[in-house]
């Protein structure tokens, strides 16, 4: 996997610099035509890749101390990771609980599933002020509100995939359990949950990435003292004079997303190896 990541980064840099070079040659037009390129290739819109990477090693002020931007971003990412983790565990638990509920009672599935789908069409910018206002009225710290926004994005893929996974065993297997007069709970634990694993882990991977997105969006919309979202917000405002920093912080966010994805993949391997199945 590490090799694929490196290859992807190299490919991205080649594409970036190639596009920049082409734009410079043709005065920002598609070669041989008068049609303008969608993105201008000047140093503000597309700073050289080397400058962006170099920026990661240049100093930035953090409170009363100065440190390299990469360390600065790591510190911020750690904070965002904590929010995202709470969001992930809360969201996954809620998603699983909803799936079991819908499995147990068909009427719950019919009643809940449309609402679960509708929930994801509510824009976060509408949700954020409601969540933070409610949180503050309950005297909860803002980090809880941000985690809740992250939860909101996270529970959806888990609920939907878990339900499909729990419903996935063959009818023959379910009937066998029934012939043993196994109670519903045993069927769930011994048959349905193991069968759901191939559905669950891809959902957890999506949920983990979404939990980071939710935490960053929450930070930007609510406003925190720290976190990657806060860094992105400040660098975005200074984009015109220091575009490299914004790009570097976006890279930081991408790496955090990759890291949580990798973390879930690792857990998946451990779990599936223990139970003697191949990873999906």
């Amino acid at each position: 996997m590490a090799l694929t990541v490196v290859a992807a980064v190299v490919l991205l840099v080649i594409l970036w610099e190639g596009y920049r070079w082409m734009g410079r040659q043709t005065d920002n037009r598609w070669p041989g035509t008068g049609i303008e390129l969608p993105v201008s290739t000047d140093d503000i819109i597309m700073p050289p890749a080397a400058d962006i990477v170099g920026e990661l090693f240049s100093d930035i002020r953090d409170g009363r101390s100065t440190l390299p931007l990469s360390v600065f971003l790591l510190k911020k990412a750690w904070f965002t990771f904590q929010e995202a983790s709470i969001g992930f565990f809360l969201g996954s638990s809620i998603g699983l609980a909803l799936a079991v509920l819908m499995l147990r009672w068909r009427v719950a599935e019919r009643g809940l599933l449309p609402w679960i789908n509708v929930s994801q069409t509510v824009p976060l910018i509408a949700l954020a002020p409601i969540v933070v206002t409610w949180g503050r009225q309950q005297d909860l710290p803002d980090i809880v509100s941000i985690s809740l926004i992250s939860t909101y994005l996270t529970f959806f893929p888990v609920a939907v995939s878990a339900l499909r996974g729990l419903q996935s065993p063959d009818a023959a297997h379910v009937e066998l359990m029934r012939s043993y007069a196994a109670p519903w709970s045993s069927t769930l634990v011994k048959l349905r949950l193991p069968a759901a694993r191939p559905y669950l882990f891809p959902a957890f991977k999506i949920a983990a990435t979404l939990s980071v997105v939710g935490a960053i969006v929450g930070e930007i919309s609510i406003g925190t003292k720290t976190g990657l979202g806060r860094a992105i917000l400040e660098f975005a405002q200074r984009y015109a004079v220091w575009p490299e920093r914004l790009y570097a912080s976006v890279i930081g966010a991408a790496f955090l997303g990759l890291a949580v994805f990798g973390l879930i993949s690792l857990v998946e391997r451990l779990v599936l190896r223990r139970t003697g199945e191949a990873a999906v």
Partner: protein, 374 residues
């Protein structure tokens, strides 16, 4: 502010004892740190930590609020946080907001009251390149004009209308992001800029023609204070219903306003220290940028001829005129929209200590900006 009833009763008893004790000694000490109890209050800002809010951060950092028996939590703003909504919903005890935006919310039913008018003038500019020939609102005719929207456009609309231009047809109004990119890349002819923030960003950018930073002489500026359509900006807003019905809150308001005003006076006299406080509170923006901002913010506050925090009534009336003529407000607000009661009480305390609360002798300094604002 939420204390159990036992503490409240205890507090009441203690307050009554104090009142009895204070009778006869007129100079009952307020703002000296002699506290029987400390009230926890929160302040919602409009945006992230920057020198625009230095006075509040300084009042926390320098223990000024503590001396007024307050424990203040400052909440930074985010993209979707509307301070006056946080205030009206009870999620915060006080909020900093621009006057026209808050009045729109007030007209919409939020019971919020301006208890201290911190900025005495507007910090909004319309900035263009010196060679563009845009020197007055009338010159905007036929140009591409940027503004941020979300209630930040009123001064521009009123100013251009006053010059005989119809904003819907005589120039092209475009939504601008909160940076100066569109001006630097030439997408727009005139960009909206706060004198303490975005304007400085241009001066922190490198001019490709010279290889050095852009200079103020490269720019042409329309200042709405000069045009006559400037509107009041940062003010402290409080919850109207609580002011009327909760004596504790009213008392806290006086102390909070007094502490905030003292914080601003501190930043006037110790601007370098306030820049340091702002940076320590987590601004990743550079030192020279915050130094510039502190200097300009002081210029928006000082001098305050009637005392810092008092209403600049002339500009208040102008704000209402522009708001109603631009149909931002359906009608002029009632007289309860602002009160000087708390600012006046606060000034009594501060003046009683011989503090300079008008800043008549304050002079702006020249701040040298570094590349990127570092």
């Amino acid at each position: 502010m939420n204390r159990p009833w036992t503490t409240r009763i205890l507090g009441l008893v203690m307050a009554m004892t104090l009142v009895t004790a204070a009778c006869g000694s007129e100079d009952a000490a307020v703002g000296t740190g002699d506290c029987d109890s400390v009230d926890a209050v929160s302040l919602q800002l409009q945006w992230v930590t920057q020198a625009q809010f230095a006075g509040y951060f300084a009042a926390v950092d320098q223990g000024i609020y503590n001396r007024f028996c307050l424990d203040v939590t400052i909440r930074e703003g985010g993209v979707d946080i509307v301070p006056q909504q946080q205030l009206a919903s009870g999620a915060t005890d006080f909020a900093v907001s621009w006057v026209p935006k808050a009045l729109v919310s007030r007209e919409g039913g939020m019971d919020i009251v301006n208890v201290a008018q911190i900025f005495q003038r507007s910090g909004t500019l319309q900035v263009s390149w010196a060679d563009s020939g845009i020197n007055s609102p009338a010159d905007l005719a036929g140009k591409v004009v940027g503004n941020w929207g979300w209630g930040n456009e009123f001064e521009l609309l009123a100013g251009s209308r006053q010059a005989g231009l119809d904003p819907s047809s005589d120039y092209t109004l475009v939504q601008q992001s909160f940076d100066m990119l569109a001006l630097l890349t030439g997408e727009i002819d005139a960009a909206q800029a706060m004198i303490y923030n975005e304007y400085a960003q241009v001066l922190e950018a490198t001019n490709p023609a010279t290889g050095a930073l852009y200079q103020a002489s490269d720019l042409s500026v329309i200042d709405w204070n000069d045009v006559g359509t400037a509107m009041l900006q940062d003010a402290i807003w409080a919850d109207g219903a609580r002011l009327a019905g909760d004596d504790d809150y009213a008392d806290v308001t006086t102390r909070f306003v007094a502490g905030s005003l003292e914080g601003w006076a501190y930043c006037r006299d110790n601007s370098a220290s306030c820049v340091d406080i702002v940076l320590a509170n987590g601004s990743a923006l550079g030192e020279s940028h915050q130094t510039w901002q502190m200097n300009e913010i002081n210029g928006l506050i000082w001098p305050s001829p009637d005392g810092v925090g008092m209403m600049a009534t002339g500009l208040w009336d102008q704000t209402i005129d522009v708001s109603t003529s631009e149909s931002i407000l359906a009608a002029a607000p009632d007289s309860g929209a602002y009160t000087t009661t708390y600012a006046a009480a606060a000034l009594d305390i501060l003046n009683g200590r011989g503090m300079d609360t008008t800043g008549q002798n304050w002079r702006a300094t020249t701040v040298k900006l570094n590349p990127g604002g570092e």
